[in-house]
């Protein structure tokens, strides 16, 4: 508690942990490349340096606020420092900005513009290093790394994986996996959070746009799209629309214009997932199966279990993910020569997630020897594809997704946020769909704040203990408690990314805290306006089970074997 004076104006503070947060609160966007409120303070970039009334300079991210402090954030000395820091960073940086994949939201480039760095007077003495294309999800370009350490910290602190680290020292320091191995050979779970926190093009999404354009241009191919729940709330603001508002109708329209023959909705298969997963859950509970049941929708989490907690492989639900289910069902549907009309079907899935690219290539993502999902396009790539077309996205009319796989319940939509899968399961188990029932489910604890949510619900005379986790470091904590017997649950839902898929590794970055809330809110709003709340009341699902799917449930909706990658 107290007051500090920033650039001559008094600003009150309460429990802010550093001077930087107070400066930001005062409406001054003090530059940083390595500070992030959700990570430990690193103090590497020195851009947030401020000056006090005695001319002493210090990094505001690493300084605790004291009552009566007087600081200046924009003196001549500071401006000179900052410009010099950027110039030095640029000097040791591969400056192919015109063709860099991150040039539309690169923090380094943005700061260079902001400080008017007009020339770089120093030579780059760093040895050129090869790019790492080993991962299906991310690409590492060490020549663009500025050593901010964000990826190292997010991987170990938020995700509990620690696949990346600093190596060597001084001018030879570099970020790399142990022994400079390829990232695909490490414990990396492909979540892509490193790419979200990377301020430059050093870590980027493995791009598959070209393959999709090629499929769209091929007249012998039927190109089918599926769009995940979290995608629809993260596209709009790139085109000047309200942050977090669902623009599914416009996405369907733009995909049709691009040439997609069918556009389906992953919420449909989220409903399938709930049908299958709740049946599996009840079966395990009633017949003494392996518990707790661990959700299987998130491929980064599944890989994490396989590598870090292999004893729990049998706990992972055998259900394919919504992406896997819909792709398998669609491919099977068009395998019928009458429906195929002589065309080959290519399935493109639009996901908020980089790990889905890995899931699509997993050995158990094939049916009858054919890959289920041909290409996975992240939200970030989708935005680029829309820009390529030049279509005025904001002005597009809404279109409905195609039948028969284009309609999902509200329970399917909320898969995009942490707790959504669980809430949809509880809805499935609920006897009715009245507003009171839905509201009481929403308030049972599944939507509470926090990254580890524990609660129980009554079902059939028993107390069903549930834990909903987001962020793999939190998942590790929970799993260790389960392993030691300290905690017991019937069901554990895990999403690798904190707050769930809305904050996935394939979503547009530079989200900021406001967007985090906005995207989740958008998902819940989309649920509110959905006519059908429960998967078992989705008429398309009911008719699918009675018709086409009969006898094929296991083949299309479940994994024969556990595969972590």
């Amino acid at each position: 508690m107290g007051t500090i004076t920033i650039d001559g104006r008094k600003v009150e503070f309460t429990d802010e942990k550093n001077v930087l947060s107070i400066i930001r609160k005062a409406g001054i966007d003090i530059p940083t490349l390595c500070y992030h409120s959700e990570l430990s303070t690193f103090g590497a970039c020195r851009l947030c340096t401020v000056e006090d009334d005695r001319g002493r300079t210090f990094a505001s991210c690493s300084e605790e606020p004291r009552d009566g402090m007087v600081i200046y954030t924009n003196t001549g000395k500071l401006k000179k420092y900052r410009k010099m820091i950027i110039e030095l960073l640029l000097a040791a940086h591969c400056r192919d900005c015109t063709t860099c994949v991150k040039n539309d939201n690169c923090n380094l480039l943005e700061l260079a513009r902001r400080f008017g760095v007009g020339e770089v007077r120093f030579q780059n003495y760093r040895e050129e290093r090869p790019l790492d294309f080993s991962s299906p999800s991310i690409v590492r370009d060490p020549n663009k790394c500025i050593l901010c350490g964000n990826c190292v910290r997010v991987c170990s602190e938020l995700q509990g994986v620690g696949a990346l680290g600093f190596a060597h020292r001084g001018s030879e320091a570099m970020v790399m996996p142990a022994f400079d191995r390829e990232i695909a050979t490490t414990d990396c779970v492909n979540c892509g959070q490193c790419r979200v926190f990377c301020p430059t093009g050093a870590i980027s999404i493995r791009d598959n746009q070209e393959e999709v354009w090629a499929a769209l241009a091929d007249p012998t191919v039927r190109v089918v799209a599926q769009v995940a729940p979290a995608v629809r709330v993260a596209v709009g603001d790139a085109f000047g629309l309200t942050k977090g508002k669902s623009v599914m109708g416009k996405i369907v329209n733009v995909l049709h214009r691009m040439g997609f023959d069918e556009v389906y909705d992953t919420t449909f298969s989220a409903d399938l997932t709930i049908m299958e997963e709740s049946a599996e859950f009840l079966d395990r509970v009633k017949n003494g199966g392996t518990l707790p049941l661990l959700t299987s929708c998130c491929p980064a989490w599944v890989k994490f279990v396989g590598e870090q907690f292999p004893d729990f492989k049998d706990n992972v639900s055998t259900c394919r993910s919504p992406q896997g289910m819909l792709s398998a069902v669609v491919k099977e549907y068009f395998r019928d020569p009458e429906k195929a009309e002589g065309k080959k079907t290519v399935m493109v899935s639009f996901m908020p997630c980089t790990a889905k690219k890995m899931e699509a290539k997993r050995a158990n993502s094939y049916t009858e020897g054919e890959i289920d999902t041909d290409y996975v396009i992240t939200t970030t790539e989708l935005i680029k594809m829309i820009r390529t077309t030049g279509i005025d996205f904001a002005a597009l009319e809404s279109e409905a997704s195609d039948i028969p796989f284009g309609f999902g319940s509200g329970g399917g939509v909320i898969f995009g946020v942490t707790g959504g899968v669980t809430e949809a399961v509880i809805r499935r188990l609920a006897p009715d769909h009245s507003k009171e029932t839905m509201d009481s489910i929403a308030e049972c604890g599944v939507r509470q704040e926090g990254f580890i949510k524990e609660f129980s619900i009554p079902y059939d005379g028993m107390d069903v203990k549930i834990c909903v986790v987001s962020g793999l470091a939190n998942a590790r904590t929970v799993m260790e408690q389960v392993k030691s017997g300290e905690k017991e649950y019937h069901l554990i839902e895990v999403m690798a990314c904190r707050r769930g898929c809305v904050m996935g590794g394939g979503q547009p970055r530079l989200a900021g805290l406001k967007d985090k809330g906005a995207r989740a809110e958008g998902i819940y709003k989309a649920d509110n306006v959905s006519v059908v709340k429960k998967c078992d009341e989705n008429p398309m699902i009911v008719s699918l089970y009675e018709g086409f799917l009969k006898g094929k449930e296991h083949k299309l909706l479940h994994n024969e074997t556990f595969c972590s990658s």
Partner: protein, 158 residues
């Protein structure tokens, strides 16, 4: 793959210092003292045993010049290139050794695993500059000729 005896020895060392993150450096030092280098496989093993990530262990091991992932020769020659030795012409000594043994800035150890040549920043014997150390023995006031004579003698010893 390393022989099982390496892992047994490493287990002993880990037991001695305790299974905790802060034991990393002493464990690595003891392994290096035992084998004259730090085998990468053992680093991975140690990281797992003391509960840190492999990337973290690698980070620490590469930070310190002292740790080497390459097997070193029987005779480890440290040529001092600290300020005092440098001005009293340590560079010709180093170059003479490199030339004689077919080594370079990148290649430190001879193929017959007899010699490793590395530079150090100061041996703390500036009065004897330029100095050189072979394993634990200090050689004062070196010249290229004297250094080559030392090599001859060591070769004789085998």
């Amino acid at each position: 793959m390393l022989e099982q005896s390496y892992f047994r020895k490493t287990d002993e060392i880990i037991e001695h210092y305790g299974r905790k993150a802060s034991s990393l450096i002493p464990i690595m030092q003891d392994i290096q003292a035992e084998y004259r280098y730090l085998p990468g496989e053992l680093l991975t093993y140690v990281a797992k045993e003391i509960g840190i990530t492999e990337a973290k262990a690698y980070s620490v091991a590469t930070f310190y010049e002292n740790f080497s992932f390459e097997a070193k020769g029987k005779y480890v020659i440290k040529v001092c290139d600290g300020t005092a030795c440098h001005v009293r012409k340590s560079t010709p000594v180093l170059e003479a050794l490199w030339k004689e043994l077919g080594l370079s800035k990148k290649k430190h150890t001879t193929d017959d695993m007899l010699f490793t040549v590395e530079t150090v920043s100061c041996l703390g014997a500036c009065g004897l500059a330029p100095t050189m150390m072979v394993n634990e023995e200090v050689y004062p006031s070196m010249t290229p000729e004297k250094a080559l004579a030392v090599i001859e003698e060591l070769r004789g010893r085998g």
